[in-house]
Amino acid sequence: MSESPHLSYIQERLGSKLLEVMQPQGDDVLILDRANLRESFLFLKEDTQLDYDFLSDITAVDYWRKKEPRFEVVYQVVSRSRCQRLRVRVPVPENDPSVESLTPLWRGANFLEREIWDLFGIRFIDHPDLRRILLYDEFEGFPLRKDYPVNQVQPLVPERVVDGTFVDERSQNKLLRLKKALGSKI
């Protein structure tokens, strides 16, 4: 298959960090090693010939029992000046599901990476604020993993007791019972 010049240029510059180059359905797809991922993206972003300056999307796919390594984090970047898209797929193994965060390069990666952590349980190293985003803190498991059953029931979450809440000791209300049961500091 004949490759376009910018793909061979990327191949030349990234060297061993680039595992594979593909062009399915006319899209440019790179498979990158997760080591020094931020450096690779910095090159794609800052290089004047490539100029992939806009991050469009980050997502992940779980290839449970289909592929090794199990996960793949997928980045879509856009070069606005050349009107070209690039898809970067980064394989992530199951025993250490973590990749470097891109939040220092594009601040919009913050929410997208939090979502992947929330639903897939893939950690982003150096992420400023890696919390659950769509689900609640007490949620157990990562629902978009293929081994998470569709009919899984989550345990009931007790009411959160907020520190510093004033509680009337004389009334037997729910909050007081809760406080006694949990022995929490109110």
Binding site: P24, Q25, F54, T59, V61, V74, R80, R85, L135, P143
Partner: protein, 396 residues
């Protein structure tokens, strides 16, 4: 005796706004850090409407995903339908006939008009311009009636199919659109007279919620919010799909990136959308609206009830779903709020292996603290209104 000076509190106050607040149409929570009425920081909590869109899609056949996409951005469900169908067709390698492509452009633009009218109408009525709100809802009602007569539903339309459309346009469609556009233009002129020199409206909108070009790009913003900062990025122009490259339209851009620019951008875009619809209706070719491929298209009812082959064909498609070749692809269309992308993975079976939506307003909510930092609490309402957060799409 000297009067004692009252001691004012110096420390910052934390305030939780939402999740159910009358001024924020949508279930969302802002954890604000305030100094008086000034917002120092804002932590946005989304996810109250999360219903597991991605996981649900993995349980359904490729066709059964279409009703789920309706419920993403329910103000422009036709665009979601079109985006999803185009993504699957890209993976299949099918191209729909010209008439289908023109109709898809028409319905996308009608949905965009609907979306922008909802956003602008609600935002202005929240600032007290109730009349404008009602006028825009009246205009929106005209669009929704066209959509209703075409698809049979007002919001959750499920009109587009993989490889075609549910059915062709009805015979008086063009006439209805022309009549409605005449009224909509008149209503928009009225709104313009009510707002463009209105002191209250200008004071509340201009120089509020400002975001710079660099910040907007860094936060991956798209759609009217990005274009209001002056960046000319529209998926319809940058990566033309369907027959947008044959349409003559402009992409309105702003200069300052404040709420007023966003409002003006949306109204200007809406007028361009009307232009596109009129052009497409004028050029509309005759022909089929389905691809000619029995692997993806249901047989005609006479064949289903009249022959065993037709019955089996129908049964296979309904029960097992259409088969999509293994692979993965990403396809983006210009939604009401920005780039609406579908990343789909197929393992060759009748069900999608993974469907991911790039939700433009979820990403916009990620930049909301930048837009509101340093402004007053009251400025949250117009800023949030112009982001046009739709819970169904943001939380999925």
């Amino acid at each position: 005796m000297k009067a004692e000076e009252p001691e004012l509190p110096l420390d910052t106050m934390e305030l939780q706004m939402g999740p159910s607040h009358p001024a924020t149409h949508g279930t969302i929570k802002f954890n604000l850090k305030l100094e008086g009425e000034k917002v120092l920081n804002c932590d946005v909590e989304v996810g109250y409407l999360h219903r597991g869109f991605d996981k649900s899609c993995e349980q359904a056949t490729w066709t059964q995903v279409i009703p789920y996409t309706d419920r993403l951005n329910y103000a422009s469900s036709l665009i979601n339908n079109v985006g999803y169908a185009l993504a699957v067709e890209k993976l299949i390698g099918a191209e729909t006939p010209p008439r289908c492509q023109y109709i898809r452009v028409i319905i996308s633009e009608l949905a965009r008009i609907y979306d922008h009218l909802t956003c602008c109408g609600m935002a202005s009525s929240e600032l007290g311009a109730i009349t404008v709100g009602f006028y825009m809802i009246e205009a929106r009602e005209l669009i929704i009636r066209i959509i209703e007569s075409l698809t049979g539903a007002r919001l959750t339309v499920t009109y587009v199919r993989v490889g075609g459309l549910k059915h062709d346009l009805q015979h008086d469609f063009a006439e209805r659109v022309t009549q409605s556009f005449k009224t909509i233009r008149r209503l928009l002129d009225d709104c313009d007279r009510l707002l463009s020199r209105n002191r209250i409206f200008l004071d509340r909108m201009s120089n509020v919620g400002v975001i710079s070009q660099e910040t907007a790009l860094s936060y991956c913003l798209t759609g009217p919010i990005l274009r209001a900062t002056g960046v000319n990025y529209d998926v319809r122009k940058a990566f033309p799909y369907l027959v947008y490259d044959q349409m003559d339209f402009e992409v309105p851009v702003g200069t300052k990136g404040d709420n007023y620019d966003r409002f003006v951008c949306r109204i200007a875009e809406l007028q361009q959308s009307m232009r596109i619809v009129e052009q497409a209706l004028g050029k509309l070719p005759v022909g089929p609206v389905w691809i000619e491929d029995p692997r993806f298209v249901l047989p005609e009812k006479e064949k289903v009830y009249g022959s065993i082959e037709g019955l089996m064909h129908h049964f296979k498609i309904i029960m097992e779903g259409i088969k999509v070749a293994p692979g993965e692809t990403y396809f983006a269309v210009e939604g009401g709020n920005g780039e609406l992308g579908f990343y789909i993975v197929s393992d060759g079976g009748g069900r999608p292996y993974r469907v991911r939506v790039r939700p433009p307003c979820f990403i916009a909510m990620g930049a909301f603290h930048e837009m509101i930092r340093g402004y007053m609490i009251a400025d949250i309402v117009p800023t949030f209104g112009m982001v046009n957060m739709i819970g169904g799409e943001c939380d999925r």
